[in-house]
Symmetry: D3
Subunit: 314 residues, 6 copies
């Protein structure tokens, strides 16, 4: 089971100029064959279905733990898309992904960049450990390919912040799975890096993460479990030679930006202030503080609702 | 983002007689339109896409928090399927869901009971709060319908333990969403319970959960967040009149059963003991204890791998 | 079984400026999850599968009868799309939905606004009456959401006439299903209106229909059957307080506009006049009148074919 | 638009021995590529999208009118499936199509015989008249192939009554489209009959229909419209040489069998008699007669609900 | 089994101005219901599944042989798409088919013009010979319809060269299947030509092929087999009256254009010259000539890699 | 383009006892994610889309050439399925894959073992050479996994002959792609063999192929092209240490078994002897020999049709 923490794994800029075309492209990183729903669900099912966990504990821990990080990735992809759609006009030129407006409230969908839904067909969980790890190494290769392509095709700051971060973190997972294959078979997959040959050291949006050493760290996303990832994730980074490190807790994260209502698509409603009034009454009736207890990036100290947020991003 | 805890939300029996036909039916609760992947992903996307969270904090917290519980549900459905498939012969009569053997290692798939993959089409996240809550109330209604049907169609102890638990917890979510709609609109949805008219008080496998009051409790699945669920989840239970309660932490859970290898489908390999040996060496090289650090239900004190586990469940 | 009447349920303007982008958006109301194929097929299957009809006759009649009206809705959506595509150039900028040109003859497809085909997965027909009615209430909620969004995204007169009409009629169905749930469970769903909060009284294209009281009337679409809808559809309208009324017959309807040939996509052919000549001969050989017996909106008194029609709309 | 008549186009036997495996096979005639949803939707879309109707009126009338008959065919396929599922146990051996029980209430689904949903991809409506008619001729060929195969694979009396009827009526449509192609192009398609070479004269369940001349008649399914079908549907039948005839109204039809509740799948509920009581009160409040006004085949004169029906078919 | 020949069946122009929108439209001829993957796979499966080949040898040979030609058609469609994408910017305006860039390397995909994947549902292989031949005749009719529409919608020289060629060759297949139906049933399908009424004699890009008589020739795509196609493919062409002819070998074909790297999408890599160096070493180590042995249209005598090619097409 | 040779790459036994359940399982090797349609289409699209072929000629030749062999694999899978279905009763117990009977004529379909159609989504052709080769190595790993599972689940002699052969040949492709990755990156993938750990030396049906050294040979499937595969496919076999060899032509193959008609599913017709008579006349009119020119395994010297074949396998 999981505990959920209302923080983003990495910062994204607040909404500025909307970019619905870009937001439709970023969907590939959500619902595409090589998107984050795929990495999340591949590793999740592999961990659910893992037989003989005690016997292969370091490998089970590795897959289960990376699965946990991926949840934060779909969250971040959604956040980037929602940011890019904030303020986008529902009138005028027909958007590239019309369902972001019609099925959603200017929001992310479990679809790829052509509007096709993510499907369970994208999950490979054979139960054969070497095979699954080989698959995962390849999946991360393909995912990095797609991340860089989306980086190039969508230049909105939120898309760039997203892909800059995911390129670095996806690289860690790629290394982790390569190490796991190596430990089991002896094949030196380190020689395959970087694949694709993405020069993250030249991508501006990767720099802050590289500087913090995010390309070297595998976080442990659990209060108590998955301690044996250290048995696999170690040795030198294949590109830089620096030491791979396990961080024994989750990253601190950053409060999410509270995106403003989009009343023309009824998100959360035509009249969000009425919802806010109801919410306020319910909060008080429940003995909660007058200001919302949630922590968000963009209303420091100001707990009032809706409009304030709207002002904040205006 | 999430932290993952390697515990099941509820106990399942260890593998005994395999039941591949039953396991193919239970898939409906995984990948069906009204299965747990649907509840998980509906609420997850609704929470990711929630606009004006501060203004509608109690409702955001409710949806985000229930999404977290659902992750534990897909885990439990997978565990039940895997348990039912343990020891199932890959030879002989063709299984109802052949891909549990061919695509998986006698394991759960992101598919429904007819082998069709789960799809993002099953997600409704409109951004309109009243509409999404109405949807969620209906979704839980449909999910409970399916749970009882699977209860009747699959009488394997693992299937029964699963559905007994899910019927009770799904009922809590149904009540929670009904309460949320009521708070926002005034419509008295409590009168619609039970829907479908499932007499959980007569279902043996529901009793332990009812006795512990699991039909009344909404757990808070977060170290710090989602505190405002109390503002919505309160008042009397529509069927029993007892008080609805928020539990301010996650349930304790129970260690998972470590399912034995199935070497005829290479899960985790033809020769799991070799993997165990490699794992042992890696563990030692990393300075980990000699016995696996993972906690599982079925190898108390005995950290050795593969065969031991096989013995344990034999 | 059905009798078909060659009339539209509501008037649409004749083709003027083509709007292929808008026509691709309107497809959502045809083949989307919340489109008219979905409402048609949901209610149709629910009525086909209805058990114990005599025991629950008023509810059976309600669902079966609304299913009949929905057929007219898919007809009208198709007509709007076809109108918007009339005269659209097949050369030049690639259209948003290329298959309206390639698979069709500048015409409607059983697809949504992203070109994905409608699928039977969109049908929910559980057989549980309360559950199906709850579903239908929600489905109409979602459908109204989509109708307004399409209203905003496609401003072609045909799209506006269509959505103005459908918003009003969909509202009637939403009320009808809410009433049905209330009659069975006592839950006061009237308090949920309007949902989404669509101010139909401010939408110009809704006014003619509201003025004629179309928001209050449930038509009986059958020569003899479905008489018991009056037992459910009664009481005050949740928004206006006016009396809901059953009209004991179908609406009169309006003759369809006969859309002109589009020879560049061979619809109905490169040389429609040759078809017209053959038709004329066949008609005479069969003892039919010289002018076509069909009644259409745009060739009053002039039964000759093809070119005349082309002139009429030019 | 349509008027709906609550009659079946042909009689089916009341439920007797259930046959869920057979019912799963009959689904091919509902949701398969060559099933009745396909014929219905192909002709429906072709008629909606028909350009220059006045110029090609006999052909428009033909397609639009046959579309209307097809609605009765999906109704009959559903009825046969529901009949075959009546009384089927939800416990015990896992059914071939589990979703008939889980997603439905022992009822028909918009799926094929492998449980795959019908999809809009099965619709071909090109707008080119000769092409569409050629397609329709082929579609009916394929549909007849499937009907006979289902006839052989499912020997339940309801399946046999269904396929016996559909083989005859599908043959009429096949002839009609062949005639239409001939009238337009001169190609003598009559020589292709029978295709497939199905000896309907040797199939017992076809005999009553052949004796009534149902293989020769095209009914006009409209109060006023589609009068020009006579211009196409005439001449000798390609197999028997008898005259093809247009009947200027719909067939009389037969009252549907009111299938009993299946309480183990909550269809229409666990406690159908409560629904019946509510219905009774609503009926009286609305000034309707005490006995249901609906006409069904199996409760002559006895309007009481649920149990009575159950007795009637027991 | 097959032998592959590295030649195109017809010439395409080298890349010039990129046309990604056009390339997305041409996809319909690849992965659409009536695209070349459909013709290839329909005839391939029909030939694989053909029962009693000796008894029906001329018909088996016909279908098997046309299947072989279709492989060359999907090759040519891919080549046209790749040509049109060469040099297309991955930055800037979002492309109509984003997956040509993200999933591919500016390259063809097994998708239609709306980005939907080709599916096995598009294959009809009933085993009934007359039915399959009728289907194939219709399929070629639909395919020709789509080819002309793509001709009109995509005016890039590669698209025009492609469709000009395919219109002529598809016409031959349409005639071949019509002849086969005629031989078996006596129905005079020749009267249905041309269908759709496409005036190939007025389409400039068809002229070179018509002049070479390509509309009359059925090639035999096999060293030894399929000799009995002459028994079916004979008689006069339905439009021109000229004699249909069997050519007893495959067409000579033309060397493919070697398309240059697209390094911004890593195709074949960021640094293709490194691959070329490795390739060169491997070639020499294997005793191959210094210049590549492959024959391509655009590097006459110059076997060096990457850059040269880039220059050649610049 | 291709030349087709009417030979199977390996022998299959003639039909004996039918095994429709087994035939439904073997479908996974046809239309499953890791089936032969996937390997065929992955390599085909990668070769079509290959940029800078001259620069990377050995790698292009490798992929293009293996694609050619895969065509023979789908042919063989179809043949095995058709063999297993020959003589299967269409009446009685409902078959696991009903569409093999209803959509086909007791024949193979482009579907997987759960009846789901193959889809273009299964193709990965990124254009990045290292990535595509990594993918292909993994794809062959997964394919071998599935082949062995099908081997175990379907024990019909045709299934066993098929999988015995494919395991050996798939192994060659797996080695080939591993070598290619090694040549480009230096990573020693040979250490990953065998993966999955399949002991082909203990599988009886692999032995004849191993004895002939089929695990070491890469055939060149082209009259003139793909000569540079020798630059990649060389060195020792990773499991046996024997030398990998390129055979400079295609394998000889074996004449296909001519499967008898199945008149109850109209394949090729109800009355195949009539088709044979027509064929005979056409053959003579075309100046062909009296006996069919096709070479099949099971009618040595006897060119007469239908019945003879029926006798031969009776």
């Amino acid at each position: 089971m999981i505990l959920r923490i209302d923080r983003w794994q990495s910062e994204l800029p607040p909404p500025a100029d909307p970019d619905p075309a870009g937001a439709s492209i970023v969907q590939e990183l959500m619902g595409g064959k090589f998107g984050e729903m795929s990495t999340l669900m591949n590793y999740t099912f592999q961990s659910f279905n893992f037989r003989n966990r005690q016997g292969a504990r370091p490998f089970y821990d590795l897959i289960a733990n990376i699965a946990a990080e991926e949840y934060g990735h779909i969250e971040l992809v959604a956040a980037a898309i929602n940011t890019m759609l904030t303020g986008a006009p529902s009138k005028g030129e027909s958007p590239r992904n019309s369902q972001q407006f019609i099925a959603g409230g200017k929001s992310a969908l479990p679809q790829d960049s052509m509007g096709k839904p993510w499907t369970g067909d994208y999950v490979t969980a054979t139960g054969d450990l070497v095979e699954d790890l080989t698959h995962n190494f390849f999946l991360e290769t393909g995912a990095r390919n797609n991340k860089l392509k989306v980086y190039e095709m969508a230049d909105h700051p939120a898309a760039r912040a997203l892909t800059g971060y995911l390129l670095v973190r996806g690289g860690v997972h790629q290394v982790a799975y390569a190490r796991a294959v190596e430990k089991l078979t002896g094949a030196d997959l380190m020689k395959m890096f970087p694949s694709p040959r993405i020069p993250t050291d030249k991508i501006p949006e990767c720099q802050p993460h590289l500087k913090r050493g995010e390309h070297l760290k595998l976080y442990r996303f659990s209060p108590e479990d998955y301690r044996e990832i250290v048995a696999v994730f170690n040795g030198p980074h294949p590109e830089t030679g620096e030491d791979l490190t396990v961080i024994d807790h989750a990253p601190e994260g950053t409060p999410p930006v509270d995106l403003p209502p989009e009343t023309d698509v009824f998100a959360p409603d035509y009249a969000p202030e009425e919802i806010a009034q109801i919410a306020q009454k319910l909060r008080e009736a429940a003995g909660l503080p007058k200001t919302p207890t949630g922590v968000v990036a963009n209303n420091g100290g100001n707990g009032s609702a809706g409009d304030t947020v709207k002002d904040a991003v205006a």
